[in-house]
Symmetry: C2
Subunit: 160 residues, 2 copies
């Protein structure tokens, strides 16, 4: 079929842009500004979330875990083998292990996290021989912009 | 005050017994039989759960995460610094990292898990220099009984 000529084609937002929007919304709620989105093979967002640790009184309410659970609920399946998890910050060990349990195909992240990350740093979850499912990993996507949201948040917290 | 003499004192069940009961209930639901309980300094159970991965379509619905979230919700606080997490199996890296994020004082577990554990095996979450909060760890409590529930479950699954 020919594309309609009546309107210019507007590409859908890329997953990292959706994740950045979630990070900014989290900052506005006073949460650490990390955002995540889970997309299927067609690029449709099945889950998207920002951190909600303080709001939910839940230290495990990281953006990634919330988005993964949302996507799995939407599917009615505890595994998401065709899906990509896109997140503004390198996942911590908890969320990296969760991504493996949900069997996502790919993990894409923005800023690297030398202190708290568990993919390229620290526990390096996917490199453990006992990790049953190892997703493809792409780091450093829109790295500067993803890190900037975090830097601004913590500078403001310190009264900077 | 003197204790009543009309009834013998019945000590409350130990946390590992509550966790074992949750593991058995999980097996009856067709879930991997792991159970967990979160108790406060007085020994009161604030959260208790068994695995609900299949029921909730949630690959992160491990007993520990569910019990920790329940306890934090009951408290209205995302951190549980006076609490003990007791679980029938060595926590995986996801749940070990969550226990650190919830800042529990102590992690007690039953059976060791050389394949999937993340405390004494694999990622050894609490040993990472980047782990901000390291709970006291006591492993091997009622080890044989905790492991037996798992062995029976997997033997039955294999049609044994």
């Amino acid at each position: 079929m020919a594309a309609s000529s009546s309107a210019p084609e507007v590409p859908p937002p890329r997953p990292i842009e959706l994740a950045l929007a979630e990070a900014r919304a989290a900052a506005a709620r006073g949460e650490v500004p990390v955002g995540a989105v889970v997309t299927d093979a067609a690029g449709t967002a099945l889950g998207r979330a920002g951190n909600r640790v303080e709001e939910l009184h839940d230290a495990s309410a990281h953006a990634e875990l919330l988005a993964l659970r949302q996507a799995a609920t939407a599917r009615g399946e505890p595994r998401l083998p065709d899906c990509t998890l896109t997140v503004t910050l390198e996942p911590c060990p908890m969320c990296a292990q969760a991504a493996s349990f949900f069997r996502v195909r790919r993990v894409v992240f923005g800023a690297y996290d030398p202190k708290g990350g568990g993919v390229e740093h620290g526990a390096r979850i996917f490199a453990a021989p006992s990790c049953h499912h190892v997703p493809e990993v792409v780091g450093g996507v829109r790295e500067r912009e993803c890190g900037e949201a975090l830097r601004a948040f913590f500078a403001q917290r310190r009264g900077g």
